[in-house]
């Protein structure tokens, strides 16, 4: 049995930031299913928001204005106490990352460059070309290396150990050795990322299964606002790789089959820089109403950057230029990029407060897997790199306080029992009938067909019943080999169980919420209903394995809910 003071699961930005803050005083073990540099944080492109006021058009920016934009963007579902904290911390963490070496792009005066982004009143998105996640993750990994943090690479966590009202650690599969290992610690922090891969069409990395959220849910921890799924307006057709919002922030246009800049009809003031929920619905409507373009890989809308000129594209958007050339054979200097909206981000997640605490003492969550909530019903671009670093950092003090106040003994018997249970579970997967990849594909299809940008009762009910069928089929899932070392099919089968749980809470949450708010749009309930639905939805797994639903208040401080126009 391994022992640590603190287990951190996930080697992306949130996990690394927490580890860097905790490692000097505690024995931290960071567990990650891929090398930290391969985490999905690396793929973030556009940037990180902070009211630095560096842009000549943004000198009057303040954290309060950032908070207002975030709350309005969230369609008033975000907790305003949490948003205010996020936006104040933003300025500190951006400077901190810079001091640690992050190579931000610069303005001529030597300050950090800032660009306009969707839903923001000022140009406040700090960036490094269009590889912002890449530079931030590299910088935090470099700091982690300098501090010699213990990192268990390619370890797949399979279960969170909860019992007697607290958290005792985790059970993990050492993927290279093929051993199932109990890890005891008084504190476990999940920074396990989003669940994009429960959808067929997602910008997310293939590793983004949401299994961390599923494991927390299986351990009895509630999940919050799961029905709020962000669809990014501009993903490449075919591969669905992200084309950053910065393409529009730098001046890119969206045009339909008639060459029309159609955003003029929907959001005349902000045009292409309306928030993502709105732009995604506009694009989907254009395609649904016959003004899309056709390609063997599917229907699309044009993202036209040609008028920006070769120099600006090469300097500010080199990453998406490579992606367009490599994955669809289009050079955006010469031709528009064919795009479609795709699942992109999880607003919902493990229910946490601003101290990253969950209802289970000793268990914390931060980053995309958590729902504080700072994004409410719709996240603004540039706020997720911010969220992950800020709450990775803010987890440090509450965890330190908990460790100082609480004894350090985990129930090792409970962990050993859990290992035995998993040994049996894995043995049972030998030669089973249902292929995990096939079940995962069916799950992705029903989620993309029925829990998409425009939703309605019949489709959502169908998704829920499909998921129940898939859960039943999962009881017969099997893999070709139950060798445990580097058996990716086995790990996929293990994670699939969590994906089914996560998808269930998303589809059910969407079915129950009878209003339209942010990214959750119901054709049968097209209005926002503050009287009935200005509340967070919580789901907890009951003894029979079914989700039981409850609701909690939204924290409102300075920003009273208004109609949301752009």
């Amino acid at each position: 049995m391994l022992h640590h003071d603190i287990i951190i699961v996930g080697g992306g930005l949130a996990g690394l930031r927490a580890a860097v803050g905790l490692c000097e005083h505690y024995n931290v073990g960071l567990f990650t299913k891929v090398h930290p540099i391969r985490s999905h944080s690396i793929a973030a492109q556009g940037g990180i928001n902070a009211a630095l006021g560096n842009n000549p058009d943004g000198h009057d920016d303040t954290w309060q204005k950032h908070a207002f934009d975030t709350v309005k963007g969230s369609d008033y579902l975000a907790d305003q106490t949490a948003v205010e904290l996020l936006c104040q911390e933003a300025i500190k963490v951006v400077y901190e990352m810079e001091h640690w070496g992050c190579p931000f792009s610069r303005f001529p005066d030597g300050t950090i460059a800032q660009r306009p982004f969707g839903g923001a009143g000022f140009p406040r998105t700090c960036f490094s070309t269009d590889l912002s996640g890449h530079v931030l993750l590299n910088t935090l990994y470099e700091v982690a290396v300098s501090k010699k943090i213990t990192i268990y690479q390619e370890w797949q966590v399979v279960a969170l150990a909860a019992g007697e009202g607290r958290c005792h650690g985790i059970v993990a599969l050492d993927f290279k050795k093929g051993e199932i290992v109990p890890v005891a610690a008084p504190v476990t922090l999940f920074a396990t990322g989003g669940y994009g891969r429960v959808f067929q069409y997602s910008t997310n990395a293939l590793i983004n299964t949401g299994s961390g959220i599923g494991m927390a849910y299986q351990a009895g921890v509630p999940v919050k606002d799961m029905e709020f799924v962000q669809f990014h307006p501009t993903a490449l057709i075919g591969t669905n790789i992200l084309i950053t919002e910065a393409a529009r922030g730098e001046g890119g246009w969206l045009t339909n089959s008639q060459g029309e800049r159609f955003m003029e009809r929907y959001a005349p003031h902000t045009m292409e820089l309306a928030p993502r929920d709105i732009v995604s619905r506009c694009i989907q409507s254009e395609m649904d109403e016959g003004r899309g373009l056709e390609h063997p890989l599917g229907r699309y809308i044009n993202l036209d950057l040609r008028h920006l000129g070769a120099e600006k594209i090469k300097k500010r958007l080199p990453g998406i230029r490579s992606i367009s050339k490599d994955f669809i054979g289009v050079d955006p200097i010469e031709a528009p990029i064919p795009i479609m909206p795709c699942q992109h981000y999880s607003m919902g997640g493990i229910d946490t407060n601003i101290r990253c605490e969950t209802v289970l003492p000793g268990f914390y969550a931060a980053g995309e897997c958590a729902c504080v909530s700072v994004h409410g019903a719709n996240r603004l671009g540039g706020n997720s790199l911010l969220d992950v670093i800020v709450f990775g950092k803010l987890a440090v003090d509450p965890i330190s306080e908990y460790l100082q106040e609480n004894g350090k003994k985990s129930d090792e018997g409970l962990l050993t029992d859990l290992v035995k249970k998993w040994e049996k579970k894995i043995a049972k997967l030998a030669g089973g009938g249902e292929k995990p990849a096939l079940l995962a594909a069916r799950l992705g299809k029903t989620m993309s067909d029925n829990v998409w940008i425009f939703r309605q009762k019949e489709e959502l009910s169908r998704a829920v019943s499909d998921i129940l069928v898939l859960k039943e089929q999962y009881s017969r899932v099997g893999v070709m080999s139950t060798a445990r070392h580097l058996n990716y099919e086995l790990v996929n089968a293990i994670e699939l169980e969590c994906m089914l749980e996560v998808a269930h809470t998303i589809a059910l949450g969407a079915l129950l919420r009878q209003e339209s708010r942010g990214a959750h749009y119901r054709r049968d309930f097209p209005q926002r209903s503050d009287a009935q639905w200005l509340k967070h939805s919580l789901m907890r797994r009951d003894e029979n394995g079914n989700p039981s639903v409850s609701y909690s208040e939204v924290a409102i401080t300075n920003y009273h809910p208004m109609e949301r126009t752009y």
């Binding site: 690396i42 590793i207 063997p296 080999s481 058996n487």
Partner: protein
């Protein structure tokens, strides 16, 4: 609608856990839709034909660096390489060279990361942190750009002929990473740090055959970094001889 094209994949198979079994190539005949990448093909083979096939992957968009391997003799990221671009209907896939194989296409990258850590790949500061950002001009930022873009995929490590004969050599990625910091206007590492790479295991090990540049999927030129470090080192030596630099404590 598009129809799949028939391909024969010959994929290297080996399990270090099962050493009695010799390495072999398994053959898979599959239909691949036009435009699909080698990574998609590998996923298709694993998911539909042979669940035991092992290979790494994550982003599938050429940014995370997980899937560098050898395809028809060429080192590339599997996710960035279209099957059709390899020419011919038989595709041979092998793991990255110069590293121990753990299973199939999965290699042990421990030596790669050990070399990375040896160069102290982080910003070294001795001045107190300012209240805001450390100023840096656009030109100073541009100077480090190509080295910042490295995705640590180890394609260059696999391609380097020096590493083929001397596993103690730091290798192109680690040296390029060091140059990224040495060139950074904000870095304040003592110039004497360059002594740590002043030998055949460091900058003088490179044969300048440029195989790393050819292999890099991100247009990084590690050899530029190595040549840059050699120049900085010579400059440092010269200044030290001239009495301009005192030995570090």
């Amino acid at each position: 609608m598009t129809t799949p094209d028939a391909y024969t994949f010959k994929i290297f198979r080996f399990d270090a856990r099962n050493k009695e079994e010799a390495p072999r190539f398994d053959t898979y005949c599959v239909g691949i839709l036009p435009g699909l990448t080698v990574l998609s093909a590998l996923l298709q083979i694993r998911d539909e034909v042979d669940g035991t096939l092992a290979f790494r992957y994550s982003c599938r968009s050429a940014v995370c660096g997980s899937c560098a391997m050898v395809m028809n003799g060429r080192i590339e990221l599997a996710c960035r390489t279209q099957v059709a671009s390899l020419g011919g209907d038989t595709i041979v896939i092998e793991p990255l060279p110069n590293l121990e194989i753990i299973k199939d296409l999965v290699v042990d990258l421990t030596p790669f990361w050990t070399m990375y850590e040896k160069v102290q790949p982080w910003l070294v500061r001795r001045s107190p942190a300012p209240a805001k950002e450390i100023p840096q001009s656009e030109g100073e930022r541009d100077r480090i750009d190509q080295f910042v873009n490295c995705i640590l995929c180890a394609a260059c490590y696999g391609a380097c002929p020096v590493l083929g004969r001397d596993p103690e050599y730091l290798g192109p990625a680690a040296l390029a990473k060091l140059e990224r910091f040495v060139l950074d206007s904000r870095d304040e590492r003592p110039p004497g740090f360059l002594e740590t790479i002043n030998d055949e295991k460091g900058v003088w090990g490179c044969d300048t055959l440029l195989k790393c540049i050819e292999a890099c999927p991100k247009d990084v030129r590690p050899t530029d970094g190595i040549v840059g470090l050699r120049k900085s080192l010579l400059k440092y030596k010269f200044r030290k001889l001239a009495g301009g630099i005192e030995d570090e404590a």
